[in-house]
């Protein structure tokens, strides 16, 4: 299967007062049509920057590395003209953000923001766009769309707003949806509903979904593949089933051990010691070594992402340890 979205060796660099930092350092990903991929990692590991880099929405202070490649459907997104890229945004690749409270413009009604997203790419009479927005609201599971259409963001609940944002993202039938922590700001019950909406729409629109999250719990049984990120790099990648049943990298194992389970015997949760170091404090060699319980002398070299034989890849020397 050829990939719809290809990321190769993506580097994002900030040139700050304290010198250069590279919070995204050589990330490669593939996303095929209709497929779902979860990008998992703690706060500060570079997953959101990776997502923003795809649509060139990084802050001005960030630069994308020379050798980085981002291709969508055979087209180069990094070197693309601004106007052409604008046509890709929303129409081909759409994005949903973390905070539904502030991601809607407070001065317009919820519905008119969906209509606006439609009119940004498709030329049609406003009344027709409004009908389509109404249909989209219904599709994302909003009851009484006619009333909700007219309401302002502050009159809607968090879950409702996230549905509106998803509807706006789907307005032009994109082939790829990037969801950056779409449920982090929501209640657990609403989280499940939103994820279910995303799943349903992915199937019905044959849309690829890149789900970015720090919560392994919402990934299980939901996405086709998982990529685990740590300190700017992907350290483990494979189908969701293999990664969950046979986690190879100590970081993935530690992440899984820190998620409460409702099946199996009750165990104490084991947190991971410390926190992700900031990009200026990354150690040379394996970046997880300060927190890794299995660290040995090989860890002074950075382990490349290698096949571990069972259809998934990990970046750890432990496999080779005699």
């Amino acid at each position: 299967m050829t990939a719809l979205l290809t990321i190769r060796d993506l580097c994002v660099t900030f040139d700050g007062r304290a010198g250069k930092t590279t919070p995204v350092d050589g990330v490669s990903l593939d996303l095929s049509a209709g497929e779902s991929l979860a990008l998992v990692g703690e706060s500060g590991c570079g997953k959101s920057l990776t997502a923003l880099a795809i649509l060139r929405l990084l802050p001005h202070t960030a630069t994308v590395g020379q050798g980085s490649v981002i291709r969508y459907d055979g087209r180069d997104l990094i070197g693309m003209k601004d106007e052409t890229l604008r046509e890709v945004r929303g129409a081909e690749i759409a994005m949903v953000f973390q905070d539904p409270m502030t991601s809607l413009n407070p001065v317009y009604s919820a519905g008119s923001q969906i209509t606006e997203a439609i009119l940004a790419h498709d030329h049609m009479p406003t009344s027709q766009a409004r009908d389509r927005a109404m249909a989209l609201l219904e599709e994302v599971g909003i009851a009484d769309p006619a009333t909700r259409y007219r309401q302002y963001p502050h009159e809607l609940s968090g879950g409702m707003r996230q549905r509106v944002l998803i509807a706006a993202a789907l307005a032009c039938r994109p082939k790829v949806l990037i969801a950056d922590e779409p449920t982090t700001a929501l209640d657990v019950t609403v989280q499940a509903q939103i994820l279910e909406v995303l799943d349903r729409l992915r199937a019905s629109h044959d849309m690829a979904v890149l789900l970015i999250t720090h919560d392994l719990g919402i990934v299980a049984g939901r996405t086709d593949r998982v990529a685990v990120m740590y300190a700017g790099r992907i350290i483990e990648h494979g189908t969701t089933t293999t990664v969950f049943s046979r986690p190879t990298h100590p970081y993935t194992r530690a992440l899984l051990a820190s998620v409460p389970r409702i099946d199996g015997p009750v165990q104490r949760l084991s947190p991971i010691r410390g926190s992700v170091p900031t990009p200026d404090a990354w150690p040379s060699g394996c970046r997880f070594q300060p927190r890794c319980p299995y660290v040995f002398d090989r860890c002074a070299d950075y382990p490349p992402l290698r096949d571990t034989g069972d259809g998934h890849q990990a970046a750890c020397w432990l496999e080779e340890r005699p």
Partner: protein, 167 residues
Amino acid sequence: MRTVDGAIAIPRLFILLLIVAAWDSLTVVPFILVIGATGWFGTSRLVRAEVQRIKSEPFVLAARALGATRRRLILRHLLPNAAGPLLVAATLAVGNVILLEAGLSYLGVGGVRPPTPSWGSMIYEGKSVLVTAPWLSIFPGLAILVTVLAVNLIGEALRDRLDPRSA
């Protein structure tokens, strides 16, 4: 912005006096234009600060991610959200301008000349008889007060009405 900073540093009355003095017979319309041309510096700073703040709001990023054009971002997202402070500044400016004209007329350099009346020149004319007939100056003064107040109240009401959060 640096130019604007420089322009703010020069007192407005001074610039106006210079222009009016250099211009022999300034009629009403150019006079209004001159007042307008020297009055936008402070407001532009205000709008700039406001736009800078709104630019970093997540909804702007969200709109960009869905393919909004630059023009659309400015007209539909940035300006309407900056409307509140802008409106307040505009209504305050109306009061200021009336007072400015009154001041210039009082100094005898206003663009409004007899027989066209202006409140400022009316106050000025009442000056010589201030003790015997104070109402000649008091009533134009009251009229200025009421107008400035009215415009400010209208501005405030408009701002409340335009903000959907307080509707």
